[in-house]
Amino acid sequence: MFVARSIAADHKDLIHDVSYDFHGRRMATCSSDQSVKVWDKTENGEWHCTASWKTHSGSVWRVTWAHPEFGQVLASCSFDRTAAVWEEIVGESNDKQRGLSHWIKRTTLVDSRTSVTDVKFAPKHMGLMLTTCSADGVVRIYEAPDVMNLSQWSLQHEISCKLSCSCISWNPSSSRAHPPMFAVGSDDNNVSCGGKVQIYEYNENTRKYSKAETLMTVTDAVHDIAFAPNLGRSFHVLAIATKDVRIFKLVPMRKESTSTGPTMFEVQIVAQFDNHNSQVWRVSWNITSTLLASSGDDGCVRLWKANYMDNWKCTGILKGDGSPLTGLSGQPTAMSTMMGSSVQTSQNAINGMSAGSLHAYFLL
C-alpha cells in the first residue's frame, strides 16, 4: 500500500530528475527552468523546499548528491554544456527568508562541447570523483584531489564511447575483487549502431578505463541505466530503461591472475518487460536491490520484484495521477492528498526475502 503525497514543486517547466540524498531525508529536483530545488523532510514527513536557485543557462538534466562524508554537495548537468558542483553553506546567509541554507557554486566543468546529459559521483571508496557524459559520446571522469577543496577538479579520464550518451551508472560495489566499473547508455535511435549499453572497467596496469562489455541485445535508445546496490553480491545487476525495462546480470568470470585484460562477464538477461507499452524513462532500485521501480510514457510507475527463482514479476503499479495539481497550486507546499492508489505488495517484499530455497537447508 502506497500513499501518494503530492508536492507543489512550482518548477516552471518539466522536472527531469529527482534525487534522494544518502540518508533519504533530502531530495533535489532539477528542471528545464534552469533551476534546482532542494527539499527537506520535516518530522511529520512533509517535504519543504529549503532552497531554489538558478543553476545553469539551459535545461538541467540531472542532479545528484555526493556522499555526505564530503559535505552537503550536489552536482548538476545541463543542456548548456556544463556540469556544476554546488555546496550548501549553512548559517552564513543574512537572508532570513531563504532560511539558513544557501548553495554556492564550487566549480563549473566546461570541457564538454555538447549537452551534458548525466552526472554521477563515483562510489565513495574511490574518493571524491565525478563523472559526466555528454551528447557527443564522451565520458569524463574528474577527481577532486583535495576533498576539502571542491573548487578544484582535475580531468582524469576522457573516454570516447562513439555514441551519443544519455546516462551513466557506477557499479557501487566496494569489493576489492571488483575493479571500478561504470555502464553508459546511449539514446542513439539508430538500431543498426549496435549495442547501446557499454560497460567500462578500470585497469590497474594501464591506469585507464577500457571497454569490458557491450550489451549487444540492447539496440534501442537507452534513457536510463542503474546498477543495483551491490550489498555483498559477487555479481552485478543492471537495470536498463529503453523501449522496455530490462534487467541484466553480469557475472564476473574467474580470471587468471596473470591476465591483465578487462574482466570477462557472463551476461545474462534476467528480465524484460514491455508492460509500459511505451518508452521507459527511468529505473531506480531500492536500497536492498530487491525492488526495481520503472516509469514510462504511460505515466505509471511499475514495481518489479524477483522471487527466489530469480523470476521477476510486477508487484505494483502506481498511477501518478489523482493529484489535481492545478487545483492545489494556490496552497502552500506539501499537501497530503490521500489517494487510493494502492498497491498490492506481498509481505515478502517487505521482508526483502522470499521463502523457499532455504527450506532445502532446513530439511537436512
Partner: protein, 788 residues
C-alpha cells in the same frame, strides 16, 4: 478561424519543395539574404559574394558578383540584403565602411550600382525599407546610422545614436516611418525616419551589446532583441514604455534573431561563438528549444527563412564555408530527448516521482480514444496542435510513501538495533536473534537462526535454550574463575582502566596476526583439546576446537557479567543506541587518552581478539554427535544465498555470531565485501552505534581499521584551560583531574561532554539537563555553552 486561414495561406504558398541540403562555398560566409520569390539566395563574406539558385535537390551557383582581377574592399561584405520589392536590387555593407548597391539587371559583369562611402568605420548592417523601393538604411561601427535615397548620390539623413557602435538596424513592419537600432552598450533606440535630430525612444534591453533585433512580421509591434548576455527578449513596443514580455535564455551570445513566418511565437537564433547550432524557440517556453539544426561545424553567421510565408525552410550560412537549407521536419527536437520523468527510490522505500502532467493525467488525455471517439465522427476529432502542446508544459511531483505500518525498511533498522552479535553465549545469541526476526515477521530468518543454534551448539545447551542462568552454569566454571581474577577482575573495576586498556591494546598488536594464521593452519584439529589452562596466550587457544572455543568465550562473557554487573551488557547496549553521539565521542576518547568509560570497556571485552585469551581456559564437556564442521559448507552456501538476495545484514550477523566456526570457510575478500556493504547500509540509516559495533567485531583488518582513523581528540584542562598533552586525565600543569563534572563535581566515568569554548564539561545527562534551563556554563565561567 484565424488559425484556419493561416494554415491555408501556408499551404497555398507551399509550392516550395525541397529537402535538407547544403553546398560548399569557397570562403566563410558573413551574411545571406534571399530574394522575394524564394528562388535565389545571395551569400556574402569577406572573400565571397555569390548568388545561388535554390533547386529542388541542390544549390546551383548562378552568379559570382565578385569580379575583377583584384577585387576591391567594396566586395568584402559584412552584411547583405536583397530588396523585397525590387528583385534586381541588392545592398551590401562593406568592411571598409562603404555601402554598396548592386543592380543585377546591369548587362556588364560588374553589377555594382551605387557606392556610398560616408561611414568612417565598418558598416555592420544594411536594411531596405520593406515597402519603399529607394530607401536604404545603414548602421555602422562609428555610431551613426544613415538613410539613403538610391536616386541620390548622398545620404539624405544621418542619425547619431550618441551611444556606441550600431549593431543592427531594422525598419518596422508596422509603422512606415519607424526603425529600430541596437547598440553595443545594450541600448535599443527607436527613430522616426523624418526626424534625424533625436530618437523617439530609447531603452536598455540587455547588459552588454545588443547584436540583433527583429520586428515581428505580423505587425504586432513586437521587437525581439538578442545580446551578448545570452538572452533573447521580446518587447512590446506599443505601450508607453517598451515592456519585456518574453525572455529566452540561450547558452551563448545571440548573434542573429529571426521570427519564424506564420508561427506567432517562434523565432530562430544563432550564436556568435562557441555554439554552432541554430535554435528555434517558442518564446512561451523559454527554457528549451523547440527545434535545433545541428549541421554546421563552425559558427553560423547568417540565418534567413526562405519564404516570408513559409515556416518550413530555413537557410543558413556559416564560417565553415557551407550554405545550408534546413527542412523543419528534419530538425532535432531537444524536447524529445528531454526526460519527462524523474524517479528515485528513497532510503525508506519511498518513491519520488516527477512526471510531465500530460502523461499522468491520462484520464483526460490519453485513455479516451485509441481508435477515435465514438461520439463524434472521426473527422471532427481535432488533433491537438503540436506547438500548442509544446508551449504549455509542467511537471507534477509526488512522493509515494509506504504505509507507516509496513514501512519497508523498518525491519532493517529494528533488526540492526535488536540483534545481539556478541556478549552472550552462542546459543543465546541465536535464540535472541531468532526471536527478533520472529517478532519482525521474518519467519525464514528466524528459522535460520534456530537452525544455526542447533547446528553449532552442543547438546547440553539445547536442553535449556535461551536461559541465561542455566547456560552460564554449564560453562567451565572453575577455570573461568581463576581466569577472571587475573584478567577480567581488574578490567571490571574502574580504578585501573589505564593499565587495562593498555594491556588490551598490547595484546591486540601482538597476537592478532599470528593467532589468526595459526588457527587457519589448524583447521583439522577438531578434537584436539589443548587447553592446559594457559590463560593469556592465544597460541594455545588456537589448538582448541574453534566451535567450542567460541561458545565458551561467550559463556565466559556471560559469566563475567553475572559476577559483577548482572544484565548490564544488555542495558548498556540500549543506552548506547539512544545516544547517537556516543560512539565517536568514546572512541576518540579512547584513542587519545586511555580513559575508557564503563560501557566502552564492556564492548572492548567483546572483540574477538580479546575473547581468545578468555577462551583458552575452556574445556569441552562432550563430543558433539556431528562435528560442527559438517555444517560449514551448508552455512556458507546459506550466507552466500542471503547476500545474493540482498540481505547482507543476515550474512554479516551470522558471520559475526558464528565467528571462527565459519570464518575460514569464506574467503577474506568476500567477508570484507559483506562487511563493507553492511556498514555502508548502517551508515545510511544513521545507525552509527551498530555500525561501530560491527566494525569492532569484524576480523578483517581492512574493516577494523575503519574506526581507527582520525580519532584524535584534543582537549583542554577544565581547570587551567591549557591543552592536555599527556595521557590520562590528570593535567600535568595544575595536577588536577580534568574530567570533573561541572554539575555534580564528581569525576566523570562514562559519557563525558565538554564545551570547546570554555573547556568545562561533565556527565552528558547532567550537562544536558543543565543547559535545558540555563544558557550559561554550569561551572560559572560565564561562557554561553550550547548543546546541539
Amino acid at each position: 478561424m484565424e488559425k484556419m486561414s493561416r494554415v491555408t495561406t501556408a499551404l497555398s504558398s507551399n509550392s516550395i519543395t525541397g529537402r535538407t541540403m547544403f553546398c560548399h562555398l569557397d570562403a566563410p560566409a558573413n551574411a545571406i539574404s534571399v530574394c522575394r520569390d524564394a528562388t535565389q539566395v545571395v551569400v556574402a563574406g569577406r572573400n565571397i559574394f555569390k548568388i545561388y539558385t535554390l533547386e529542388e535537390e541542390q544549390f546551383v551557383e548562378k552568379l559570382n558578383l565578385r569580379v575583377g582581377r583584384k577585387p576591391s574592399l567594396n566586395f568584402s561584405c559584412a552584411d547583405v540584403m536583397w530588396h523585397q520589392m525590387e528583385e534586381n536590387l541588392l545592398a551590401t555593407a562593406a568592411t571598409n565602411g562603404a555601402v554598396v548597391t548592386w543592380n543585377l539587371g546591369k548587362p556588364s559583369r560588374n553589377k555594382q550600382d551605387q557606392l556610398f562611402t560616408e561611414h568612417k568605420r565598418t558598416v555592420n548592417k544594411v536594411c531596405f525599407h520593406p515597402t519603399e523601393v529607394y530607401m536604404l538604411l545603414s548602421g555602422s561601427q562609428d555610431g551613426f546610422m544613415k538613410c539613403f535615397d538610391l536616386r541620390k548620390k548622398e545620404s539624405v539623413s544621418t542619425f547619431s545614436g550618441q551611444s556606441e557602435s550600431v549593431r543592427d538596424v531594422q525598419f518596422s513592419m508596422k509603422d512606415y516611418f519607424t526603425f529600430a537600432a541596437s547598440f553595443e552598450n545594450g541600448n535599443v533606440q527607436l527613430w522616426d525616419i523624418r526626424r534625424p535630430d533625436r530618437y523617439e525612444r530609447m531603452f536598455t534591453a540587455h547588459t552588454g551589446p545588443v547584436f540583433c533585433c527583429d520586428w515581428h512580421p505580423d505587425d504586432r509591434g513586437w521587437l525581439a532583441t538578442g545580446g551578448r548576455d545570452k538572452m533573447v527578449k521580446v518587447w512590446d513596443m506599443t505601450t508607453n514604455r517598451p515592456k519585456e514580455i518574453y525572455c529566452v535564455q540561450t547558452i551563448a551570445s545571440v548573434a542573429r534573431v529571426k521570427w519564424r513566418p506564420e508561427k506567432k511565437f517562434h523565432l530562430a537564433t544563432c550564436s556568435m561563438m562557441v555554439d554552432h547550432n541554430i535554435y528555434v524557440w517558442d518564446v512561451r517556453r523559454p527554457f528549451i528549444p523547440f527545434a535545433t539544426f545541428e549541421e554546421h561545424k563552425d559558427v553560423t553567421t547568417g540565418i534567413v527563412w526562405r519564404h516570408q510565408h513559409d515556416p518550413h525552410f530555413l537557410l543558413s550560412g556559416s564560417k565553415d564555408s557551407t550554405l545550408y537549407q534546413h527542412m523543419f521536419k528534419d530538425a532535432t527536437r531537444p524536447v524529445d530527448k528531454a526526460n519527462p520523468e524523474g524517479l528515485c527510490f528513497g532510503l525508506f522505500g519511498d518513491l519520488a516521482f516527477a512526471a510531465k502532467e500530460s502523461l499522468i493525467s491520462s484520464d483526460t488525455n490519453r485513455k479516451p480514444y485509441p481508435g477515435g471517439d465514438r461520439r463524434y465522427p472521426i473527422f471532427f476529432f481535432k488533433k491537438p496542435d503540436p506547438t500548442e502542446q509544446f508551449a504549455h508544459v509542467s511537471s507534477a511531483l509526488s512522493v509515494f510513501e509506504t504505509d507507516l505500518d509496513s514501512n519497508r525498511m523498518d525491519w532493517f533498522v529494528k533488526t540492526a538495533q535488536l540483534y545481539l552479535l556478541s556478549g552472550k553465549p552462542f546459543a543465546e545469541l541465536c535464540d535472541h536473534n531468532a526471536k527478533v526476526a520472529q517478532e519482525l515477521k521474518r519467519p525464514q530468518v528466524s528459522t535460520t537462526w534456530t537452525m544455526l543454534r542447533i547446528m553449532f551448539s552442543d547438546p547440553a545447551n539445547l536442553t535449556a535454550p535461551g536461559l541465561n542462568h542455566n547456560l552460564s552454569k554449564l560453562g567451565p566454571m572453575p577455570l573461568m574463575n581463576s581466569f577472571s581474577i587475573k584478567e577480567i577482575g581488574p578490567g571490571v573495576g574502574t580504578e585501573s582502566r589505564l593499565e587495562r586498556s593498555k594491556g588490551e591494546s598490547r595484546q591486540d598488536n601482538i597476537h592478532l596476526d599470528p593467532g589468526n594464521s595459526h588457527i587457519s593452519n589448524n583447521e583439522e584439529n577438531e578434537e584436539t583439546e589443548g587447553s592446559e589452562g594457559q590463560a593469556e596466550y592465544m597460541f594455545i587457544d588456537a589448538e582448541l576446537d574453534d566451535d567450542d572455543l567460541y561458545s565458551m568465550e561467550h559463556d565466559n562473557q556471560a559469566e563475567e557479567q553475572e559476577y559483577t554487573l548482572p544484565q548490564e551488557a544488555f542495558q548498556l547496549r540500549h543506552e548506547i543506541i539512544d545516544n547517537p553521539s556516543a560512539p565517536e565521542h568514546l572512541q576518540q576518547d579512547k584513542a587519545d587518552s586511555p580513559h575508557v568509560s564503563g560501557n566502552e570497556a564492556e564492548v572492548t571485552c567483546l572483540t574477538p581478539i580479546e575473547s581468545f585469551s578468555l577462551i583458552s581456559i575452556s574445556q569441552p564437556l562432550y563430543n558433539p554427535h556431528l562435528p560442527a564442521s559438517f555444517f560449514c559448507p551448508i552455512v556458507r552456501e546459506m550466507l552466500s544465498y542471503y547476500a545474493e538476495q540482498g540481505d547482507v545484514q543476515m550474512a554479516v550477523s551470522v558471520l559475526i555470531v558464528l565467528g571462527e566456526r565459519i570464518r575460514k570457510e569464506i574467503d577474506d575478500l568476500t567477508q570484507e565485501h559483506w562487511y563493507m556493504s553492511y556498514i555502508d547500509l548502517l551508515q545510511r540509516f544513521e545507525l552509527w552505534n551498530v555500525s561501530n559495533e560491527v566494525i569492532k567485531l569484524s576480523t578483517c583488518s581492512a574493516i577494523t581499521c575503519l574506526n581507527q582513523a582520525s580519532t584524535t581528540l584534543h582537549i583542554n584542562c577544565s581547570n587551567c584551560k591549557r591543552p592536555m598533552s599527556n595521557k590520562g586525565w590528570i593535567c600535568d600543569r595544575c595536577h588536577q583531574c580534568a574530567s570533573i563534572c561541572a554539575v555534580c563535581h564528581h569525576v566523570v566515568k562514562g559519557l563525558f561532554v565538554w564545551c570547546q569554548g570554555c573547556s568545562h564539561g561533565g556527565h552528558l545527562e547532567h550537562i544536558m539537563n543543565w543547559l535545558k534551563s540555563s544558557a550559561h556554563c554550569p561551572a560559572g565561567c560565564g561562557h554561553q555553552c550550547e548543546y546541539t
